[in-house]
């Protein structure tokens, strides 16, 4: 839900979201404490501009979010086996939330989850008429789609 006084930072791009660097940026921000703005903070659209298809991807992030990194871990040296043990151990990551390995694990999980969710999605159709526009999901009910196109004019 959008709120009065809410600060929003838009991250906009044109690449398919499952392989866009913007998705990695958003995943990194989320695991670091940034919040998404509202309950529908992701929009992927395609529109015809000059006879060509133009993709637009927009993430809406809460501009009031703050990130604090706490260096609450000692300097240490480890081999790959120990790194892997910690990386694959959910309980260890939750017990050591400031450790770089926990951040790496959270980033890996979040980025893979976002990419999985976004990979199969079709972009919504964006149709502009002057200053008005319509966003129509490709699986929208045909009756509602016809209704909205009639309203758009």
């Amino acid at each position: 839900m959008m709120k009065t006084g809410q600060k929003i930072v838009f991250v906009r791009g044109e690449e398919p979201p499952h392989r866009s660097p913007d998705t990695a940026l958003v995943a990194a921000a989320l695991v670091s404490g940034v919040r998404l703005a509202g309950d529908k903070p992701f929009l992927d659209t395609i529109e015809e501009v000059g006879g060509e298809a133009k993709r637009s991807v927009t993430w809406s992030l809460d501009g009031g979010s703050e990130i604090t990194f706490r260096p609450a871990f000692p300097e240490e040296t480890m081999d790959f086996a120990e790194f892997r043990r910690r990386f694959e151990d959910d309980a260890w990551c939750r017990a050591n939330p400031d450790h770089p390995i926990s951040y790496l694990r959270a980033l890996a999980d979040t980025l893979l989850s976002l990419q999985d969710q976004l990979r199969g999605r079709k972009p919504a159709l964006l149709i502009r008429k002057g200053k008005r526009f319509a966003v129509i999901p490709q699986d929208a009910d045909p009756k509602r789609k016809a209704e909205i196109l009639a309203l758009l004019g």
């Binding site: 509202g38 604090t68 926990s102 526009f133 309203l151």
Partner: protein, 109 residues
């Protein structure tokens, strides 16, 4: 804030219609005078954009597209957008209606 380990789900957008989109850009200006008080130059600073949107369906989708400058690069990219007013009306027999207005500060961080 230590690392966030919760799973994040992305909701699909619903059908959306923006019936009114008004965006205006403005800058503050300051005249520069010479020692005799004559105008010699002007400087522009603090660019901002005001927006006012009205539509039906999903407000977040309306806000995301309504502030993209019609696809023109640069508008509402970077900086911070503040939603000054928002009104959402849920209806049983029609789509949700919404109105939203605010400002974009491209140089804010």
């Amino acid at each position: 804030m230590p690392v966030t380990l919760t799973k994040i789900g992305i909701q699909s957008v619903d059908i959306t219609l923006a019936e009114s989109v008004e965006v205006s850009a403005k800058v503050e200006s300051k005249p520069l005078m010479d020692q005799h008080g004559k105008f010699v130059d002007g400087a522009a600073f603090d660019p901002t954009s005001d927006f006012s949107l009205k539509g039906r369906g999903d407000l977040p989708a309306g806000l995301a597209i309504g502030t993209d400058g019609g696809g023109a690069a640069g508008l509402f990219t970077g900086g911070v957008t503040i939603v000054a007013n928002v009104k959402e009306l849920e209806k049983n027999d029609d789509w949700n209606a919404w109105e939203c207005s605010g400002q974009h500060f491209p140089n804010a961080s």
